[in-house]
């Protein structure tokens, strides 16, 4: 890595405030997208604890579920679900742009690739839900 270019006299070097992401709606949307990962990670940690509690026996498991039913956790999960959906939508849209899909000589238009990804996501989610419902 080379050293940063030395500032030259006479030029004005603009500064970047820590709040730069509030300056434009697109930047804010970007920040929210990035922050979605935090909510997802917290949920997964909770899920891990849930599995752990299940291993400790029915009482521990039930107590844990009860804790999750508290308004605070419900609110958190509701918000987290919003973020998770936002992540999925942005991720699938961007992946379609990044991943070039070819059919013979021609590139499949990214819109079509995205549509395919969304369809797959929907089917997969329904399948998981269905599997859980059937078992319960």
């Amino acid at each position: 890595m080379s050293a940063p270019p030395a500032p030259r006299p006479g030029l004005y070097y603009p500064k970047m405030p820590a709040t730069w992401w509030l300056r434009r709606p697109a930047y804010l949307r970007f920040m929210l997208r990035e922050v979605s990962s935090v909510f997802i990670a917290i949920f997964l940690a909770v899920l891990m604890v849930q599995v752990y509690r299940a291993g400790q026996g029915p009482e521990a498991y039930a107590a844990f579920l009860e804790r999750l039913a508290s308004p605070g956790w419900i609110a958190f999960h509701a918000v987290a679900l919003g973020f998770a959906l936002y992540h999925s939508v942005t991720w699938l849209k961007l992946t379609a742009v990044v991943q070039v899909v070819r059919l013979g000589e021609h590139q499949v238009p990214p819109r079509l690739v995205a549509a395919g990804a969304f369809a797959f996501w929907g089917i997969l989610s329904l399948a998981i839900l269905f599997a859980v419902l059937l078992r319960s």
Partner: protein, 115 residues
């Protein structure tokens, strides 16, 4: 190849895979475990839970579902901190974030294997 070795591609690779897993699988699980079960829309008694996670394939599935998106989080959170102006702390931030993801991976493995 004369490329200067950087570990970025490795972490980015894990981030990408984690992002895919998170995009496809997390919303529905979040709905089930975060809302539907606690609110009683779906019953998910202990016995079923235990029976489920006892299956090796389900263990693998849970490992993928929980561990991989942690790298997705680590990568993004690392850059969020940098974006918020913590540029000077780049190295410790990276170690902290990816280190947490690795710890989470080990933890997940430990929980799943103990069952």
């Amino acid at each position: 190849m004369s490329t200067r070795k950087t570990s970025e591609p490795f972490w980015w690779g894990l981030f990408s895979v984690g992002g895919v897993v998170a995009a496809f699988l997390v919303p529905v699980h979040l709905f089930i475990h975060g809302l539907a079960v606690p609110l009683g829309w779906i019953a998910f008694p202990h016995a079923r839970m235990l029976a489920l996670v006892g299956q090796p394939l389900v263990k693998v599935y849970l490992f993928v579902l929980i561990a991989l998106p942690l790298y997705h989080w680590a990568h993004r959170f690392r850059f969020v901190l940098e974006d918020l102006g913590l540029h000077a702390l780049r190295a410790p931030i990276a170690v902290g974030c990816y280190g947490s993801a690795v710890a989470g991976t080990v933890g997940t493995l430990w929980v799943l294997l103990r069952l």
